[in-house]
Symmetry: C2
């Protein structure tokens, strides 16, 4: 799932441990948020703590690696959708994929990681620019209001996930409902609103 370009031909065990570490860190950060400890991540990956620091000099660097891979994956999705024949549907599709990927993710995670690390900032800006194009096409097609910008959409991506996450035990697809509501808010008047999924929380 996590695709990273290895800096320079790693030894076989090192390469394996690096992947193990990234996977374990991802899970641990999802479960515990930004406060997940390096020791726990190492334990989950089945390696010693010092091994983590051999691969990632600081905790921030580890976080940046994960966040960066998320950003570039989303950029790839957005790029693909730029070819779509229906720009409005393409935008909705992108929002759905993005929100789905963000699910359960501690969002302050992405936030703090986006500041400071220049590589991550570059990847984020690349994603931002691609979303801009996606929104522009949707706007030209009349699928969103004229005054909606790419930044608006970029910022609103996580809103539905966050809203749904506020419930102690939210239905697993509640975020789709809120994504629908927000997407409707982006549409020009007169356009057909989405049929919302039923409110299925308990």
């Amino acid at each position: 799932m996590i695709v990273t370009t290895p800096a320079r031909s790693l030894r076989a065990d090192a390469a394996r441990n690096r992947e193990l570490l990234l996977a374990a860190a991802e899970e641990e950060f999802v479960e515990r948020g930004l406060d997940a400890s390096i020791a726990d991540i190492a334990r989950r990956a089945g390696v010693a703590k010092a091994t983590v620091f051999r691969h990632f000099a600081t905790k921030e660097e580890l976080i940046a690696a994960i966040v960066g891979s998320h950003f570039s994956a989303l950029t790839a999705v957005a790029r693909g959708l730029l070819e779509s024949a229906d720009p409005g549907a393409a935008l909705l599709e992108f929002l759905t994929v993005a929100a789905d990927g963000l699910q359960q993710q501690d969002l302050t995670f992405l936030q703090t990681a986006s500041e400071g690390d220049s590589t991550v900032i570059a990847l984020r800006d690349e994603l931002h620019a691609t979303v801009d194009s996606l929104v522009e096409r949707a706007r030209e097609a009349g699928a969103v209001r004229a005054d909606i910008t790419g930044t608006d959409v970029f910022l609103l991506i996580c809103a539905p996930v966050h809203a749904a996450g506020f419930l102690p035990r939210p239905a697993p697809d509640l975020w789709r409902r809120y994504l629908g509501i927000i997407f409707d808010g982006l549409r020009p008047e007169g356009a057909n609103p989405l049929p919302l999924p039923a409110p299925s929380w308990s």
Copy 2:
């Protein structure tokens, strides 16, 4: 600003320190999030660390006191708006006040505090019920879609603030823009959309 019912006639200095502590804690949590330390809070209030623990047995208890006061303040606002002649405008007004109060607030703050402490849960449920009534009136007045529930609105309150907070240096009223977008998503088709504030971020 913070109104709490003192358990039993505190000594004058103790009562003063308690208020100083609550104010300092509020500021510190806003600035540093959930990770703000008791020592920093004590320093800000001008008292020793041990004094904090005399007033609040644990950090969680201090957090619960703050969050609880926020919830009850919002409930009071919502109750007042139940008397309003225009249910749709009343709902929008409530959302605006709630989002404004949430601004700069670390939202995981409210989230984690809402779990575990029974007093806070009770206050939250009370707010939830009041918002339910507010939404029901708006729905009957045709100001929101028929399928929108109080829970929907309750959960979506923080979405605009969160979205705006994602930017490194957001314009101070960017959240109003996103509140407008989301509110539009709640409205039945045919109703007039809000004129959105201009996207004034830099």
